[in-house]
Amino acid sequence: MTTVNSKPGAPSASFNGKRVVSWISGLPPAYYVLSILIAVAPAVSATLINPNYWFVILKQSAPLGIAVLAQSLVMRVRSIDLSVSGVFAFAIYLASSGLLNSYPPLLTVAMPIIVGLLVGIINGVLVAYVRASAVISTLSVSAMLIGIIQYMSAGRAPGSTPTWLRVLTNGNVYGLSYSVIIWVATSVLVAIAFRFLIIGRYFRAVGDNPRAAETTGIPLARTIFVSHVTAGFLTGIAALVQISALAVGTIKPGFDTFMNALAATILGGVTFGVDRGGVAGPFVAVVAFSFLFAMLTVFGIQEPGKLIAQGLIIALAAIIYGARAGRI
């Protein structure tokens, strides 16, 4: 006797089970890291499972989260952007040094985005059209930006960031900071662009195989240029959110910024040409990273321990993911 379920091609329960297992095992490492951290959090500290604490973590993660979103765009097309620290340093200095005080406030808001956009255009031209090495050229641009602001500031810390701008971080809707809303909104916009616009397909095609993409008529150089310009624009937004989170300006926003952005992007399942995490992957990775550092702080682990933990997690995640999914 033949049942409906036994018909050839009909999905069986075991088949669905395999699909679920396959789907779960295909998730970017960030999901596993976050799941493990959430599972052990109650045993570590009650504070870590307090919803208000999660809002704080999200608020602190917003600048890095947007920078990671930017990094993921260029890494999808097999490029890299190491100018994040330079954009942050330049924008923070201009906003906190008082140079823009005599201009309308709108300029202070627009300035980081303009800086990011200009740097994105320069990076895009160098990498896509001049065909310079992305590592060296974006790093050079960053070194020049940091050098310029250090020269302008003579190595001294600038003044305070505009008080009114802090509303971006301190203002909230039902406890959710505006900066987090900006982070989520930019992520959603990028996700929609990837899903519905032709540029999303171009990005995937170039990431999968640049030579094949070019042969089939996809504008390779233009696609990579657009990725750098968009990344620069998003890095500018990240710098704006970072400025709003700082009370006092600094000329050392952290050499680690781009390292953290790289690490989170990788944990989120996006690397050079590999795009398994979509937009959600890098988002989850940033949250996982912030949560991990919060937990390490609770344990009283200092900088060396944090560096080792960060390195081990990146290595393990990349090895497990790489062995399973091909080169990452």
Binding site: S79, V127, A143, P304, I328
Partner: protein, 313 residues
């Protein structure tokens, strides 16, 4: 046997180093004309001492970059070496420990890249974090006691030849011997030029890549020992900048970051350009902050001048 001619040879696979050599010569001539103190013995000695750590680490980096990889953990290995060399134990034990740690890091990097398919930047970024953390645990703050013989081996001289130059020449000759006189050198060019073809022609690609990372780590270890001797103390963050600077020096010397093209001579020229920029600007009393701008600008000009076939890293 390595002859001077073989060391200096500039075949196609050496990369576009004519531009780098031209830049270096131009800088030297301009420095001699416009900076009176440039040719002073003390300045040349400083220039040599400042550049040698970078040259040695960049030579190691060359092996990895020739395979199409990248090793940003070089800086951490230098930092770890300077920290280990201040440990309270017999000198030979410290050296053995440094070599063992460097080899272990090289093996992990190489195995991760070659066998486990992890991207070189990601793999070495991970070990960079681990190495930097370990260096800070071994030596939390700069200082510590360094063996006298190590300081002497860097500061002294053999007749009129300063020991620094000996370090530099020995490291360059070892790198040149490996690259031009061993089958492994040929394998490096083959694996970096076209991995598929190399594999089809019997090149042990995976083993070659693993060995390249081990060599890079061992050269970084030597650079760390040199730095320790020069500073006469340990610095757990002393190597922090060398990861990126060694890549920069290699790229300046015409070694293609995509792999398959490059030379020992090119790398030495690239590192010399970077060292010379610092030295010249110090002599000219240029602000330390503007030096960063000038260095970034020059680097950009040189990299832009070396237009590549492929777009990307």
């Amino acid at each position: 046997m390595i002859t001077v001619a073989s060391y200096l040879r500039v075949p196609y696979r050496a990369g576009a180093i004519r531009l780098s050599i031209g830049t270096l010569l131009l800088m030297v001539v301009a420095s001699i004309i416009f900076l009176p103190g440039f040719l002073a013995g003390e300045n040349l000695s400083n220039l040599l001492a400042q550049s040698t750590t970078l040259v040695i680490s960049a030579l190691g980096q060359t092996f990895v970059i020739l395979t199409g990889g990248l090793d940003v953990s070089v800086g951490s290995i230098i930092s770890m070496t300077t920290a280990i060399m201040t440990l309270d134990m017999p000198a030979f034990m410290r050296i053995l420990l440094c070599i063992a740690v460097a080899t272990a890091f090289g093996l992990v990097n190489g195995y991760g890249v070659a066998r486990l398919n992890v991207h070189p930047i990601i793999m070495t970024l991970a070990t960079m974090g681990i190495g930097q953390g370990l260096a800070l645990i071994i030596l939390p703050i700069p200082g510590g006691r360094v063996p006298d013989w190590l300081s002497t081996s860097v500061a002294g001289s053999i007749g009129p030849v300063p020991n620094t130059l000996v370090w530099l020449i020995v490291a360059s000759l070892v790198a040149a011997w490996i690259l031009y006189r061993r089958p492994f050198g040929l394998y490096l060019f083959a694996a970096g030029g076209n991995e598929f073809n190399a594999r089809m022609n019997g090149v042990p690609v995976e083993r070659t890549i693993i060995n390249a990372y081990v060599l890079s780590a061992l050269f970084a270890c030597a650079a760390g020992m040199f730095l320790t001797g020069r500073l006469a103390s340990g610095d757990p963050k002393g190597g922090a900048t060398f990861g990126i600077e060694s890549v920069t020096a290699v790229a300046l010397g015409g070694v293609h970051l995509a792999g398959g093209i490059g030379s020992v001579f090119g790398t030495v020229v690239g590192a010399a350009i970077l060292g010379l920029i610092n030295n010249v600007m110090n002599l000219a009393n240029v602000s330390a902050f503007l030096q960063s701008v000038a260095k970034g600008g020059l680097l950009l000009v040189l990299v832009v001048s070396q237009r590549r076939k492929t777009i990307g890293l």
